[in-house]
């Protein structure tokens, strides 16, 4: 292996060098001796590892917020007759005479969805792990643009700040659902939650989209341009493939949401009529004519559907990596895994109208979207098969990360099956807007992505903080969460099949639903139980940062490049030269090898006993 420092010569590309050569050398030495101030090191940092931790800890904050909000509305749904005076110190005027304010209930639902989908499972998940793992696993010293990466985090931070402040508005935060369909979201006189809260929601989302785009262009460029020598696209870990395609999806879909949000802002504040037409409200006719609310739904779901893959694909990538490492087996069907990710990415853009089967669309068009939607079952099925085949006869180590990865596969199957039901237009029209839909997407995308997030944190915590998380607490956390999630969402399917609609404040007025009072109570109790279980993780996480057992360089005996760095990699990641790559990332339990794993940076000339006939000794 080449241990000498890289030669500084003409920069790759068609345009020539950006800086004179000597400056490069000065920078190199400059960095080694330079002590950064606290602010430039931990706050306005351009180091991808620090930015990843910033995303993670902000994401944890938002996850607690989102979980707490859901506990509040589950209390209302589970015990509609209960008095909630005891919540008055927290909620103030939103509890009147012991009853939760119905307007505030809508705001709770809206905020729970927005926070979980965007702030936790988009920014907290791909923001954390794309940032942390892309440079480390492809063999780069940092992202393509550290400055834009820093901006990405701070746009996210300000976006979150705006959303957080909107919780304390007199009229409450946005309350039109996380999909903010107009005209409800466009007319401040419709509900209190369409007032200032909605304006702040739109401002927050605009900032969030800018954050995602700044991050996404960086991820893509880093994967394309900054892979170390030998790291061809067919030697990339599946995590990187997943992060890469996730960023591509975001790059193509978030600008469309930005357009929709901008037009909605104009409708709300500048008197245009893009989405509004012929509306009577409170006995008054509005003068908006010519708008189309369905147009908003098309624009929204053109982002909204890829968004669910933006949420799930990073989790898929990390789970593939963790399953292979802890089963001590190569991932089954590496190229099929890449192919299925590509398939999902393409299909993501041609299925959005399956959210709109009841908008009165042409039934022929509906059946086209139904057909395309059901095709997604194919790449999803390929992935599930490959995960199970990877586990088959593996030498499985049940680490916390492994448990959560297996849990991910379980939840993805359980939630994916109902997706086939809902993808059918005829069935969807019956199930539309019921708790069946809620149960479906909470399993397949919400809980699954959370399990991927937990698996990732448990697995890469040693590289992030140089210490190990506690395994016993990890097991407790896993079982509380795994059981809790199924107890919440399995019964919810029944409530949904019976027709109970989502976003309703209470069902007590309907005889047909009152028989589900006990079931709803059960779901609520399970939800609060699962939420409380997460504090085991939060304790474990923060305790282990300071007091955890010290990690070694490669505690999981994994073969990817991040484990060739020091225990806590500094700025620049590798103290010497960046290692070159010679083999794919899944050489586990290779017959004839001395160890049960061979890192990617070991050339074939050093592993003569285990080389396959087609693996020639390069260099």
């Amino acid at each position: 292996m080449a241990a000498n420092l890289p030669v500084h010569s003409q920069v790759q590309g068609d345009i020539g060098a950006t800086e004179p050569r000597t400056e490069h050398d000065e920078h190199l030495h400059h960095d080694e001796h330079h002590e950064q101030s606290f602010i430039s090191k931990y706050i306005f940092s351009t180091d991808h590892k620090i930015i990843a931790k910033q995303f993670l800890i902000t994401g944890i904050f938002w996850a607690i917020m989102g979980g707490a909000l859901s506990s509040l509305f589950r209390i209302q749904l589970g015990w509609p007759e209960a008095t909630m005076d005891w919540l008055q110190p927290v909620l103030g005027k939103w509890v009147e005479g012991g009853k939760l304010n119905p307007e505030f209930y809508l705001a709770l639902v809206t905020m729970h969805g927005t926070i979980m989908v965007f702030f936790v499972l988009t920014a907290g998940l791909s923001g954390t792990f794309s940032n942390f793992l892309i440079p480390l696993q492809v063999g780069a010293r940092d992202m393509a643009s550290g400055f834009m990466n820093m901006l990405s985090y701070w746009f996210f931070f300000v976006s979150g700040l705006v959303m957080f402040l909107s919780l304390f508005l007199e009229t409450g935060p946005a309350a039109a659902g996380w999909t903010i369909y107009p005209p409800l979201s466009a007319l401040p006189q419709a509900i209190p939650g369409s007032g200032a809260g909605m304006t702040m929601w739109l401002v927050s989302m605009a900032l969030f989209i800018i954050s995602q785009l700044l991050g996404g262009v960086n991820y893509i460029t880093t994967v394309i341009n900054l892979r170390t020598r030998g790291m061809s696209m067919s030697k990339l870990p599946l995590t990187i493939w997943a992060f890469f395609l996730t960023a591509v999806l975001g790059l193509l879909s978030f600008p469309v949401l930005f357009s929709a949000a901008l037009l909605l802002i104009f409708d709300r504040s500048f008197g245009t009529s893009f989405f509004l037409s012929d509306i009577y409200i409170a006995g008054q006719a509005l003068n908006n004519t010519g708008g189309s609310p369905i147009l908003f739904q098309h624009l929204f779901w053109f982002l909204g559907h890829p968004e669910v893959y933006i949420v799930i694909m990073p989790a898929m990538g990390m789970v593939s990596e963790i399953l292979a490492t802890n089963a001590r087996k190569p991932i089954f069907g590496y190229r099929a895994m890449i192919g299925s990710l590509l398939g999902i990415s393409v299909l993501a853009f041609v299925v959005w109208a399956h959210h709109m089967f009841v908008t009165g669309m042409n039934p022929f068009l509906g059946s086209v979207f139904m057909f395309l939607t059901l095709i997604i079952a194919v790449p999803s099925g390929v992935k599930v098969f490959n995960w199970l085949a990877t586990l088959w006869r593996g030498n499985i180590r049940f680490t916390s990360a492994m448990l959560f990865s297996i849990g991910f596969v379980s939840l993805f199957i359980a939630g994916g099956l109902t997706g086939i039901v809902l993808g059918n237009a005829a069935l969807d029209i019956q199930m539309h807007n019921t708790y069946f839909v809620v149960a479906h997407f909470h399993l397949v995308m919400g809980s699954s992505a959370f399990f991927g997030l937990f698996a990732g944190v448990y697995h890469w915590f040693p590289k992030m903080f140089g210490r190990m998380m506690d395994e016993k607490l990890g097991y407790i956390h896993f079982w509380l969460t795994f059981i809790g999630v199924y107890l919440v969402f399995m019964p919810m399917h029944y409530v949904g099949i019976a027709g109970f609609p989502r976003r309703y404040y209470a069902w007590t007025g309907f005889d047909s639903f009152s028989q589900f009072a006990d079931l709803n109570k059960f779901i609520s109790a399970a939800a609060i139980f699962a939420f409380l279980g997460q504090f085991v993780f939060i304790f474990n996480f923060f305790y282990s940062i300071f007091r955890g057992r010290r990690a070694t360089e490669n505690p999981w005996r994994s073969s990817t490049l991040e484990w060739t760095t020091p225990v806590v990699p500094g700025h620049g990641n590798w103290p010497g030269a960046i290692p070159a790559v010679y083999r794919w990332p899944y050489d586990y339990s290779k017959p004839g090898a001395a160890e049960d794993f061979i890192p990617q940076n070991v050339p074939f000339s050093e592993t003569k006993s285990s080389n396959m006939p087609n693996e020639r000794e390069q260099d």
Binding site: Q12, G16, A144, N225, R229, G271, L295, H298
Partner: protein, 195 residues
């Protein structure tokens, strides 16, 4: 990039510099945004209740202005290839001035539209007019970012950092400027054919 990162020990990629790649991806995201606007425009127009109006003639003049600015930008780029620093700066200054003239021209077109009773919002507005304002306005916003990019590149040129062996900045700036001109040409033709 990390300051000690060199592109020589990398896997041969697309042959495109990382900063160029970032620019291309940003351009892709802007294209997606306008794809959303223009496809929304077409979907909305098909639904009827659509005010038809003639586009002000000023748009044609503005289109010529922005085409000229692309030409002066290209001239600056060729000058940089020939290490003619003075011409680079003159070319970029002309481009900047034409960009400003374009923006003022667009502002005047908005005035003409209002004079023709085509409004952005309010009781008498129709989505056909509102869309025209939005397309022009969002394009103008991106043109302002292009002007900022021009100023930054001009600043580098004044420090003698733009010449035949340091073409990255001015090439990126030229690409972005041509993109903004091309985007306007697309929007102008789109409005001509679909108003």
């Amino acid at each position: 990039m990390h300051s000690s990162e060199t592109l020589t020990d990398k896997e041969p990629g697309t042959g495109v510099h990382p900063l160029r790649m970032l620019l291309i991806l940003i351009i892709v995201s802007i294209i997606m945004m306008f794809a959303a606007f223009t496809s929304g425009y077409i979907v909305r127009r098909e639904e009827g209740n659509w005010l038809e109006f003639d586009l002000p003639s000023g748009l044609l003049i503005n289109t010529v202005v922005i085409a000229l600015s692309s030409a002066s930008m290209q001239w600056a780029w060729f000058s940089a290839r020939k290490d003619n620093v003075r011409q680079v700066q003159i070319g970029m200054l002309i481009t900047f001035a034409l960009g400003l003239i374009f923006l003022v021209g667009q502002w005047n077109v908005w005035g003409d539209l209002v004079a023709n009773k085509v409004y952005f919002g309010g009781t008498d507005s129709n989505p056909s007019g509102s869309f025209t304002y939005v397309l022009m306005g969002v394009h103008a916003f991106h043109l302002i970012t292009g002007l900022v990019f021009l100023v930054i590149t001009l600043g580098r040129s004044l420090q003698y950092k733009v010449h035949s062996r340091q073409m990255l900045a001015i090439s990126n700036c030229t690409i972005y400027w041509h993109f903004l001109g091309g985007l306007w040409l697309y929007l102008y033709l789109f409005l001509l054919l679909n108003h």
